[in-house]
């Protein structure tokens, strides 16, 4: 499907700007649960879709923001390529724009890179109802400030993404997942030791009892690395990483307590907070299901050099993301003012002040 709605979006934004009406930018709604509760008039970009340029030999794809991840990944797969940051969908209609706006990355993130690492360029609609283009379709580009990566993970508060260009990567020739019985403490040490050696490690997870390690690359090197690391091969490993972990289909994620995402320097020893834990990213991303008070969680994460996000459930009218220092918050406000002087886009979605 392909449809250019730039003119209509621009016109709708002009109307909203004239009336000072805040808007909530929407794709398919698959990520509406993230961040602070959305506010403003719905502003759908889901119809603005279509792949505009795909150059497998140059490792680049450009698509309109309403294009579904499914369509993009399907198109790449035909050429043996993929989005190496493994973006979570969290719903069947997940769009490119929302994935980049939320800056989410999947299991490969510490080994292959994050969403922003693969963003090469954007075309955006700013709060002054201008369509601007930054970055481009080439790997190396240092002309002007890196606005494309600033937009990544900004939850739409700086502009409406119209087009995104991404670097793509080849699908590895071979892949294997190994499972070992390990304690949390052992798992943290091992994941980081192996990541410090030249092994083709591309994903790691510890569910409390078992350590899962994914190896990807040339056939011979995967086989060789598997013999170094050891463990039981996992048969339906694609399902495990994609459906259970990336899409949070794992039983761990289906309990009624609030789900916290705790981000830490990878080798940080286990935090002494009560609740259920699941670790990813070599220990750098740890999920916690708990009824514990938010301030206790943030304090423990902060003391360990990390930060905590209320990912699912809990009170979304309060603080969801870790707070910023006064100086950093001021810079955020200044940037918000620079891109969205009327405060139209996704007000309060990340912080009440933005």
């Amino acid at each position: 499907m392909s449809q250019d709605q730039t003119t209509e979006l621009l016109e709708r934004l002009r109307v909203a700007a004239a009336a000072h009406t805040p808007i909530q930018i929407q794709g398919s709604g698959s990520k509406a649960f993230l961040g602070r509760a959305p506010a403003g008039e719905p502003f759908s970009v889901g119809g603005h879709c279509g792949i505009l340029n795909y150059q497998p030999k140059e490792l680049v794809v450009t698509a309109r923001s309403g294009t579904t991840l499914e369509e993009i990944e399907g198109t790449l797969a035909k050429e043996g390529q993929m989005l190496a940051f493994e973006p979570p969908y969290f719903g069947p209609g997940a769009t490119l724009g929302a994935s980049i706006a939320c800056g989410l990355s999947g299991p490969a993130r510490p080994y292959a890179g994050s969403a922003r690492d693969f963003v090469l360029g954007v075309r955006v609609l700013t709060g002054k109802a201008e369509t601007l283009r930054f970055g481009g379709e080439v790997m190396k580009n240092v002309a002007g400030y890196d606005v494309p990566r600033l937009m990544t993970g900004a939850f739409g508060t700086l502009g409406v993404l119209l087009e995104v260009s991404l670097k793509v990567m080849p699908v590895p020739a071979a892949e294997e997942t190994l499972v070992q019985e390990r304690s949390t403490a052992e798992a943290i040490v091992l994941m980081n030791q192996w990541a410090g050696r030249p092994l083709p490690l591309t994903a790691t997870c510890h569910d409390g009892d078992r350590l899962y390690l994914r190896l990807s690359g040339a056939e011979t090197s995967v086989r060789q690395a598997a013999s170094v690391i050891g463990g039981e091969p996992l048969s339906d490993h694609g399902t495990f990483w994609r459906s259970k972990l990336r899409e949070q289909g794992h039983g761990f994620f289906h309990r009624d307590k609030a789900l916290w995402r705790i981000s830490l320097p990878a080798a940080t020893p286990r935090l002494d907070l009560p609740g259920n834990w699941l670790m990813e990213w070599g220990g750098a991303q740890r999920w916690l299901r708990t009824d514990l008070d938010a301030s206790a969680i943030r304090k423990a994460a902060g003391a360990a050099g990390g930060h905590a996000t209320l990912f699912r459930g809990g009170d979304r009218s309060g603080q969801v993301f870790h707070s910023l220092s006064p100086a950093l918050l001021q810079l955020h406000r200044n940037l918000k003012q620079a891109f969205d002087p009327l405060g139209l886009f996704n007000p309060g979605r990340i912080y009440p002040e933005l």
Binding site: R116, V138, N141, Y145, G153, P200, A218, T220, A266, F321
Partner: protein, 494 residues
């Protein structure tokens, strides 16, 4: 000398002499005598960076040792509206560290300590004046290294790399500075310290780290950098392929990548560059080739063997006239030496050379090389091409003689045309050297007035008075409208 020799007052202008004396008096309250350079012969070495066609003596050069000293310098300059140009090793190639006659150069050369290497988390925390290569040398004991490797890595500093978002030969596979820096400590224009990014992934709020990296010293002063370290690959191996046609060499690059192999390095040189390099270092290049490719793969031992065999087959199928795999480490290093020495090699065959830095979508390589050759004939100035072929970053080297009247100006004009050609085919005016002072006019070609205005608003969000490295990176809208009105012949670089 360039027509863009800054037209400010000279070092001995009475107004500047008085201003200098007054500022020195204030600075002496907190800086030791060796931290202030004020004599003309002392500040002389700071008059330019690696782009020596542009020179300007600064008001003063300051060499602080502590973060607190830098904070006090910034506070003082902010109060008095004095521009500040931060500087690392001065190896930059776009005039990003060019001083201003009424501004101070803030050298971070004395911030040269590696503060911590954390092998468990695979990170290094360093001061901004630490040399790029020194990080890898210090990390080697743990089997780790810092991936971005600009050609100047022996001399250039990590602080400068952050300012320019430096790349290197290995960035197709391992990324640029922005992909390998985890956190920075930054002083804002009024001296306040902020910590941006962190060792924990996905810092809350906007990705200020990405915004700061490559911001050419215009948003803040970096006083500490935490980088990501990678395990040293088990093995690296390189293949050298000769082609009788540049177009075939370009197509061969696409074939390797389409086959699912991401080489650690994929470099191309054209005939003039091959001959210059071969005469200089005797790397064993085929001097009758129209182009050569150097394709390096790294990884585990088995992976490298598997990929080298496939790369050889692909290159032969793509029409290579000869394909040679380095038979040992010595030959591998020799193959690379020729590429790494390409700039000085060209420097040997011409009194001066001017290095351009455009990036293009690789499919347009034949067209860009053909039109560059046409421009080269039109201007009567030879051009040798060195190309980071994997990622489309082209370095045309224009050969000229600065002693011939008007030749530098014509060189800059030709350079500007080449960059505009890169934009025309969907590329960019700078892949890794930065805009600096050099390409500020071409920014008006790459960006619309509204886009430039937005970039200026980003600048104002950090530096409302415009004191950090003013005049670089992003042109003012007025400057662009003047440029657009120039007759075509005068729209040269800079």
């Amino acid at each position: 000398m360039s027509q863009l020799q800054p037209h400010g007052p000279g070092f001995h202008d009475p107004g500047l002499v008085a201003r200098r004396a007054e500022l020195v008096q204030e600075l002496r309250r907190f800086l030791p005598p060796d931290g202030i350079l004020e004599q003309e012969e002392e500040v002389g070495p700071y008059e330019c960076d690696g782009l020596s066609a542009y020179r300007q003596l600064p008001l003063l050069v300051l060499l602080p040792r502590t973060v607190e000293e830098v904070q006090r310098i910034l506070r003082l300059c902010h109060e008095r509206d004095i521009p500040v140009v931060a500087r690392g090793a001065g190896t930059g190639l776009s005039g990003g560290a060019l001083p201003l006659p009424d501004g101070v150069v803030l050298s971070l050369a004395r911030f040269n300590r590696i503060l911590d290497i954390d092998p468990a988390n695979r990170t290094a925390r360093v001061q901004p004046g630490v040399r790029n290569l020194a990080i890898s040398e210090a990390a080697a004991a743990h089997g780790l290294y810092y991936a971005p490797d600009p050609s100047s890595q022996i001399a250039c500093t990590i602080g400068g790399n952050v300012a320019e978002n430096s790349g290197g030969v290995h960035c197709l596979k391992y990324g640029l500075t922005v992909h390998n820096v985890l956190a920075i400590k930054l002083l804002l224009v009024h001296g306040e310290l902020v910590e941006i990014g962190g060792e924990a992934p996905d810092s809350p709020g906007y990705d200020l780290l990405a915004l700061l990296i490559g911001s050419e010293g215009m948003l803040g002063v970096v006083v500490e950098v935490t980088v990501r370290l990678l395990p040293i690959p088990e093995r690296a191996q390189v293949v050298l392929a000769g082609f009788d046609d540049v177009e075939k060499a370009g197509a061969a690059v696409g074939e390797v990548i389409a086959a699912g192999i991401i080489p650690a390095g994929l470099e191309m040189m054209d005939g003039p560059a091959i001959k210059a390099a071969e005469d200089f270092v005797h790397a064993g290049y085929p001097t009758d080739a129209a182009a050569i490719l150097l394709c390096e793969v790294d990884g585990t031992n088995q992976e490298v063997s598997e990929h080298i065999a496939r790369v050889r087959d692909l290159l032969i199928a793509a029409g290579a006239t000869e394909v040679r795999t380095a038979k040992d480490q010595a030959e591998r290093l020799r193959f690379w030496q020729g590429r790494k020495a390409a700039f000085p090699a060209v420097g040997r065959i011409s009194p001066d050379y001017y290095c351009m830095d455009g990036t293009i979508p690789r499919r347009h390589l034949p067209e860009v090389l053909r039109r560059t050759a046409e421009l080269s004939r039109e201007y009567g100035l030879p051009v040798a091409n060195v190309f980071h072929a994997g990622d489309g970053n082209l370095h045309p080297l224009i050969l000229y003689d600065a002693n011939r009247p008007g030749e530098l100006e014509r060189t800059e004009e030709l350079g500007g045309k080449i960059l505009e050609l890169c934009v025309e085919v969907g590329g960019t005016i700078t892949g890794e050297h930065g805009v600096g002072i050099e390409k500020i006019r071409q920014m008006c070609v790459q960006f619309s007035p509204a886009e430039l205005q937005q970039l200026n608003l980003v600048k104002q969000a950090f530096d409302p008075k415009g004191l950090l490295n003013p005049g670089k990176g992003v042109p003012t809208p007025r400057r662009c409208s003047e440029y657009r009105q120039l007759p075509d012949r005068e729209r040269g670089t800079g």
